[in-house]
Symmetry: C2
Subunit: 387 residues, 2 copies
C-alpha cells in the first residue's frame, strides 16, 4: 500500500514527510483495550511537542484537538502538514501558552488520520487498511491512549489540559478518568454529554458519506486517486461548517451575493451558486484533501457517544471525581455547543465544591470562535496557566 | 407513463385518486412566462377550497403552503391525500379560519408534486416527465400562477393572505405584486430575503440529492418502484428537519436514548442509532413516499432566490408597495427564520406608514411551531380576520 494508492483518502501515511510529527508505538505484546471491548493491536500515536520538559516534569501542558484537527497545534503548513497550526496564535515563545515556559504536547487522536492509528492504518492481520474493520472508539479511548503517551514522555501530572469542542470533551474525560494526573482544566465550547441535536448533525453527515458510492462501504483505499468519497465527505463537512459559524457572520460575509454575477441567465440556474455555497464547497473540498472520510465517521461517532456519566452513575457523580481547578469557556454565538452547556459544566463543578470559573467569549463567529478569538482567549488562558 | 412507473417518486399523478383536488388548467394558447425568461406551457394548478364565496366575492382567504406542503390545508389523510391537512386545527367550521364564514383557497405551488405542474409533470413536447428539463421558478412565479387561479375563481381581492415559512414568502410577494388585490396579510415565521444561512441549508440538501446515484441527474421517473433518490431526499429532509425544530425539544424528546437498548455491543456500532436518528430517518423516509425529489430541489431553489427587493430597488421601496394591513408572526425558538426577521418585516411596514403588528408565539418547538401552536395562533388569526 503506497501513499499514491491512498490518494483516494486525505490520510497521512507512513512514507509521507513526517513534518514535526513524532511517533509513540505502544507495546506490541498485547492489545489496547477499547470501551467497545475490542482490543486494538499495534497502536501508534503521532504527536508534537513544543518547549522543554522541566527536570521535575511539572510544566507539561496537554492540548486536545477537535474533530478534524491533528497534532499540529502550532507551526506553519509545509512538508507533512497540510494546514498551519490550529492554535498558532496561542502557542509559541511569548504567546499565551508560552513555550519558553511550558512543555506543550498535542497528539493526533486515536481514529485520526494524521499519523495515529485509524481506519487508514494497516490492519495487523493483513497489512491492508482497516477500512470498514476499524472499531468504534470513544473519547475515553482517545484519552487513555494519550495517557500512554504521557507515561512515555515522563509526564505524571499535567499542569493543564486544554481544548475546544471535541478537545474539550477530552479535557473533561482526562480530569474524570485521571483526577490525580490533571492539576487544571480549560474546556472550551464543549459539553458533558452530546445532545440530541449535536448527534443529529453528526448522523446526517455520516449518512451523506455512506450515500457516496465511492465510499464503497468504507473500503475505498484501493481506489484510484480522486476516486474516494470526497463529495460525501464534503457534504458532511458543509453541514458541520454551518453549525460552526453563525447566521450573522454568514449574512455579513456573504449576504445574498451570487458567484459570477452579471450573467443574467445564471441567476436562474438550479446549480448556480450563491457565494455562501462556494464557501461551503471550498471548505468541503479542502477537507477531503487532508482528511480521511472513515476517520471523519469514527471520530464523529466518538463525539456522539460522548457522555461523561456513562457507566459512572449520575452526571454529578462523574463530575465529582474531578479534582482539578477549572476555567470553562463558552462563546456567545455558538449554536452547536450553546453557552448554556459550558455554564452547566461550571455550575456542576462549583456545586461539587471545586474551584471553577466561567468565561464567556463575546464573538459573532459561533463555535469556531475558539479558533479565531485569540485576543479574548489569550488573557484568561495566560492567567490560568500562571496561577 | 403510468402511476406505477412513477413509484420512483412520491409525486401525485393524473390517474391517482384526486381526493379533494380541483384543477385549473391555464389557457393553452400561450405559455406562462417565468422570472427566468422561460415560458412554461400547459400549466395546471391543483387547489382545494373550503366554504362558499359570497356573491360580492369579499370573503376570500388564501392560504399559502410551505416547502413540502400542498393544497391539503385541512381534511383527513385518505384517498389522494397522503397526509392530513397541514393546518387542520386552524381551518374548518367554527375554527379560527371559520369556513362557515370565509371562502378559503389553497393551491399546490408551481413546481410542486401534488397535482400542480412540476418536474414530474409531462413535458408538452414529448409527454415524458420534465425531470431535469424543468425550469427554475421563483416565489413570484408561484404567486402569479395563483393570481390566475384567483381570476378563475372570481376573486378580485383577497380579504387575507396567510402562510408560514415559504408560505409567508408568497404572502409578502402577493402584497407587493398585487397591492390592490390584498386587503390584509399574515406572514408567519418568514423573511423578506433568504439569508446566507438559509441558503446554505438548502444548498446542502440539494447536493445530497444530487449525490444519490438514483437521482440520475434528475431523470429517474422511468426507474423501478423504490429505485428513486429516496436516500438523497431523506438526507436533505433530515438537514431541514433539524432546523425546523430546536435543541431543547430534541433534548426533551430524545435525549441520548439509543434504539434497541440492552444489546451492549450495539452501543458501539458505527451505525447503531440514537433515537433522534431514528426520528430523522422516519421523517426523511416518510417524505420520500409522498414527495418528489425534483420538486424538493426546485422549490428549495425558489426559496433561496426569495428576495422581495430583486428588481425593485431597495428593500424599503419594495415593501412600500404594500397597502395591506399586516399581522406579522414570529416564533420565539425559531432557529431557521429567527424572530428578528419577522420584527424587521413589521418595523419596515410601520416605517412605510402601514398598519402592522408583530405577534410572537412563545414556543419551544422552533420553526415548526407554525404547524403546532394552534392555541397561540388561533386568537390573533381569528381576531385578524374579524377586523
Amino acid at each position: 500500500m503506497t501513499s499514491d494508492a491512498l490518494a483516494a483518502s486525505g490520510a497521512w501515511m507512513p512514507g509521507d514527510p513526517p513534518g514535526r510529527r513524532q511517533f509513540h508505538v505502544f507495546a506490541t505484546d498485547r492489545g489496547f483495550a477499547l470501551d467497545s471491548g475490542v482490543a486494538l493491536r499495534d497502536v501508534t500515536l503521532a504527536y508534537e511537542t513544543w518547549g522543554t520538559l522541566d527536570p521535575d516534569a511539572a510544566n507539561a501542558v496537554l492540548l486536545c484537538h477537535a474533530w478534524t484537527g491533528d497534532s499540529h497545534a502550532a507551526g506553519r503548513a509545509g512538508r507533512g502538514h497540510p494546514t498551519p497550526g490550529w492554535w498558532e496564535g496561542m502557542v509559541g515563545p511569548g504567546r499565551p501558552i508560552d513555550t519558553n515556559h511550558w512543555f506543550v504536547v498535542c497528539s493526533n487522536v486515536l481514529g485520526g488520520c494524521q499519523g495515529t492509528t485509524g481506519p487508514a492504518s494497516p490492519h495487523p492481520a493483513d497489512g491492508r487498511p482497516y477500512g470498514s474493520r476499524f472499531p468504534v472508539i470513544t473519547i475515553r479511548d482517545m484519552v487513555r491512549a494519550q495517557a500512554r503517551l504521557a507515561d512515555h514522555l515522563g509526564v505524571t501530572t499535567w499542569r493543564a489540559v486544554l481544548g475546544g469542542s471535541m478537545g474539550g470533551m477530552q479535557v473533561l474525560e482526562w480530569a474524570i478518568t485521571y483526577p490525580d494526573r490533571v492539576r487544571s482544566i480549560l474546556p472550551i465550547a464543549t459539553c458533558m454529554q452530546s445532545t440530541a441535536q449535536q448527534i443529529a448533525w453528526g448522523a446526517i453527515g455520516r449518512r451523506a458519506i455512506a450515500l457516496d458510492p465511492r465510499w464503497r462501504g468504507g473500503d475505498y483505499y484501493d481506489a484510484a486517486p480522486g476516486d474516494g468519497p470526497a463529495e460525501g465527505l464534503a457534504i458532511a463537512r458543509m453541514v458541520a461548517q454551518v453549525t460552526f459559524r453563525s447566521d450573522n457572520v454568514f449574512t455579513d460575509r456573504f449576504g445574498r451575493d451570487l458567484t459570477d454575477r452579471g450573467r443574467h441567465g445564471d441567476t436562474f440556474g438550479l446549480w448556480q451558486q450563491f457565494e455562501v455555497e462556494r464557501y461551503l464547497e471550498h471548505h468541503g473540498t479542502k477537507l477531503g484533501r487532508r482528511f480521511d472520510a472513515n476517520s471523519y465517521l469514527v471520530i464523529g461517532k466518538a463525539m456522539d457517544l460522548h457522555d461523561v456519566a456513562r457507566g459512572r452513575g449520575a452526571l454529578a457523580r462523574a463530575m465529582g471525581r474531578i479534582t482539578a481547578e477549572a476555567v470553562v469557556v463558552g462563546i456567545s454565538s455558538d449554536m452547536l455547543y450553546p453557552s448554556y452547556q459550558q455554564r452547566q459544566i461550571d455550575e456542576l463543578l462549583r456545586s461539587e465544591g471545586l474551584k471553577s470559573e466561567y468565561v464567556e467569549v463575546s464573538s459573532p463567529h459561533g463555535h469556531d470562535g475558539f479558533l479565531i478569538e485569540f485576543d479574548q482567549l489569550a488573557e484568561p488562558i495566560a492567567a490560568f496557566l500562571e496561577r
